[in-house]
């Protein structure tokens, strides 16, 4: 192998350019993560103190406690439900925006993104007003003679609230992934006798899968780590990893267990990224 002339200098330049961001990541991410890992092996004292001894007790609790398994399953289940709901509701909107033109398209994109300018807390309280017993939706159902089920302070409330809050991310991701969509392909499919439904499932949808994968990844990860909306809309009945980490860290002061659960979330994100990477590779 012959070295490429100037390759060493070029590598040094790349490393020099990368150095600032590597330093920021080291201080802002790697060191705190290592600290978190270390904390997960510390002893949690009765009453909330952190002991000096190292122990595997937190990890044993994580694996053996049925409640922690339930937390993981709940978090994954609720986040999957939110991801599917956000995809189903966002896809037609994104497709419509993709096909819109000129100023109208810009207006629609601004409308989609504008909720992100409002705090998630404010939007969540909006859902409290809409979904509570005296709120708009139950009152409407009661007015037409239906008995409104409880729509807030349970899993339904969390799914409804988070789906709406995360939809802009899904729509923007879908639009970013719709680049390969070419209207001429649909025209060609129609010319060859495909019905609109066949054309959608066999031409449009496969071409938009990269956007779907990106949107699902983003919404799933954001739902697993969402804390405020489940806390406000869950009514203490919905047990998720993020809310449990809060309770352990802030209420019971069990920082070692909170650190252990945080690492579990990190591992979950790692697994999701692996699945996403493989899905994207398969699509390409």
């Amino acid at each position: 192998m012959n070295a490429v002339p100037g390759a060493g200098a070029s590598r040094r330049a790349v490393l020099a350019l990368l150095f600032p961001i590597m330093l920021v990541n080291l201080i802002g991410f790697i060191v705190p993560m290592l600290n978190l890992g270390l904390l997960s092996f510390k002893e949690a004292l009765t009453g909330g103190g952190i002991g000096e001894k190292f122990t595997l007790a937190n990890w044993v609790t994580l694996v053996t406690d049925d409640f922690n398994r339930e937390l993981l399953l709940n978090s994954v289940g609720v986040s999957l439900a939110i991801t599917v709901a956000a995809l189903v509701l966002s896809y037609p909107i994104a497709l419509y925006i993709q096909r819109a033109e000129g100023l109208w398209r810009s207006i629609l994109i601004v409308l989609v993104i504008s909720p992100l300018l409002t705090s998630a807390v404010v939007r969540t309280y909006g859902w409290v007003v809409i979904l509570s017993d005296q709120g708009g939706l139950p009152s409407l159902l009661n007015a037409i003679g239906l008995t409104a089920p409880r729509m807030i302070f349970n899993t339904t409330g969390v799914i409804v609230g988070l789906t709406e809050i995360l939809m802009p991310y899904m729509i923007v991701s879908l639009l970013a992934g719709f680049g390969r969509l070419d209207p001429r392909l649909e025209e060609a499919a129609a010319t060859l006798g495909a019905s609109p439904i066949q054309s959608f499932w066999r031409v449009v949808f496969p071409l938009t899968l990269p956007g779907v994968a990106l949107g699902c990844l983003l919404v799933f990860v954001l739902s697993v780590s969402s804390f405020i909306t489940p806390k406000l809309l869950g009514g203490g009945r919905v047990f998720l990893l993020a809310t449990e980490i809060y309770d352990q860290a802030i209420v019971t002061l069990n920082w070692p267990l909170a650190a252990t659960l945080s690492i579990l979330v990190l591992v979950l994100f790692g697994l999701v990224l692996v699945v996403y990477g493989r899905a994207v590779a398969a699509l390409d």
């Binding site: 004292l45 909330g48 103190g49 509570s132 409880r150 302070f153 009514g235 203490g236 802030i250």
Partner: protein, 346 residues
């Protein structure tokens, strides 16, 4: 040249005038935010600062006990706070981690005048004010104030009760009170009777985690009954046209003890004890009780009757003695029982 001399004289004069101010030692107190911070500054800290020249107290509203402990942990090698306000159980946690110097009679002679409940074996901090668990009710729903915790089980109040589930202290306290109400004798051994009764409460519960606090659902007419802390409840009840009422039910309640903690290796050194001494004095504690309904811990602090009625000091016989360490020891068990048999009930 003359101008330079003039300026030099001015600067020297200014420095002379600023002399006494510069000699002040600043004592930094980190404590709860919002209502507590506002009222404590007004009733206690401002008066202390006005009363003497050597020490000046600055209060930093940090937030909850857990957030204050988080600050103290982060500052362990170079503390910025001199005194920290913490719930007594968190004071014990900080003591176990070596964050505090012990407060006893050698630090302040006033410690001898305090209610025995103000001290906890193994905790370095000392109780300087007491709050207690109360039942909140909507005046729109109840023409006369309910007198018993059992009002929460009324079938007519379906989805109209809010309860903060454990591990929140309010939920732990409710478990102990209801267990005693149902004939339980020792919560350390078992709270099964109380939990069985609380499981029957589940259909009436609107939320097990009222947000932003226990008072909002009643103030906004979403709920009719709830469980909260006395001082804040009294404050909301005092607001014009408030629909929130406060009751210390006949079956009793438990105290929540707020402690002051002397931070180890604190920057102000002994100056912090001067403020600590003032904070434990009858004068400061009565002033704070008048400002907002926190009961004093100094037994020499005699509050006027109309103020006493608004705190647990007006009905000491109703208070159930609970050691914060005993409560911490059974917390996980109670949390699990709530999750298994109370919250999961429809």
């Amino acid at each position: 040249m003359k101008t330079s001399i003039k300026y030099a004289c001015l600067v020297a004069g200014a420095l002379t005038l600023a002399g006494p101010v510069a000699a002040q030692t600043v004592v930094t107190v980190g404590g709860y935010g919002e209502l507590f911070a506002e009222k404590y500054k007004k009733a206690v800290i401002d008066r202390f600062n006005e009363s003497q020249k050597e020490v000046r107290v600055e209060y930093y509203a940090i937030g909850s006990s857990a957030q204050i402990l988080g600050n103290l942990r982060a500052q362990k090698s170079a503390p910025q706070l001199d005194l920290a306000v913490l719930d007594i159980s968190v004071s014990k946690a900080g003591t176990d981690e070596g964050l505090f110097d012990k407060i006893d009679e050698t630090v302040s002679k006033r410690v001898a005048d305090l209610n025995p409940q103000a001290r906890l074996e193994g905790a370095a901090g000392i109780g300087f004010t007491l709050d207690n668990v109360v039942m909140l009710y909507s005046k729109k729903q109840f023409a006369t104030a309910p007198t018993s915790w059992s009002a929460m089980w009324d079938p007519a109040l379906r989805n109209k009760v809010t309860v903060s589930a454990p591990p929140e202290i309010l939920g732990l306290a409710l478990s102990i009170v209801v267990d005693k109400m149902e004939g339980g004798t020792d919560f350390k051994a078992s709270t099964a009777k109380g939990l069985a009764k609380l499981a029957e409460l589940a259909p009436n519960v609107l939320t097990f985690d009222p947000k932003p606090d226990a008072y909002a659902p009643i103030l906004s007419n979403q709920a009719s009954l709830g469980v909260g802390w006395n001082a804040r409840a009294q404050y909301f009840a005092d607001q014009p046209d408030s629909n929130l009422g406060v009751v210390l039910p006949k079956e009793g309640s438990i105290f929540q003890i707020n402690t002051l903690n002397l931070v180890k290796n604190r920057p102000s050194g002994e100056a912090a004890t001067k403020f600590l001494d003032y904070a434990l004095s009858p004068e400061a504690q009565i002033a704070f009780a008048k400002e907002v309904a926190y009961a004093p811990t100094n037994m020499k602090a005699v509050v006027p009757e109309e103020i006493a009625k608004r705190t647990a000091a007006g009905a000491p016989e109703r208070m159930i003695a609970v050691n914060a360490l005993d409560l911490a020891a059974v917390r996980d068990r109670i949390v699990q029982e709530w999750r298994r048999s109370v919250i999961s009930r429809k």
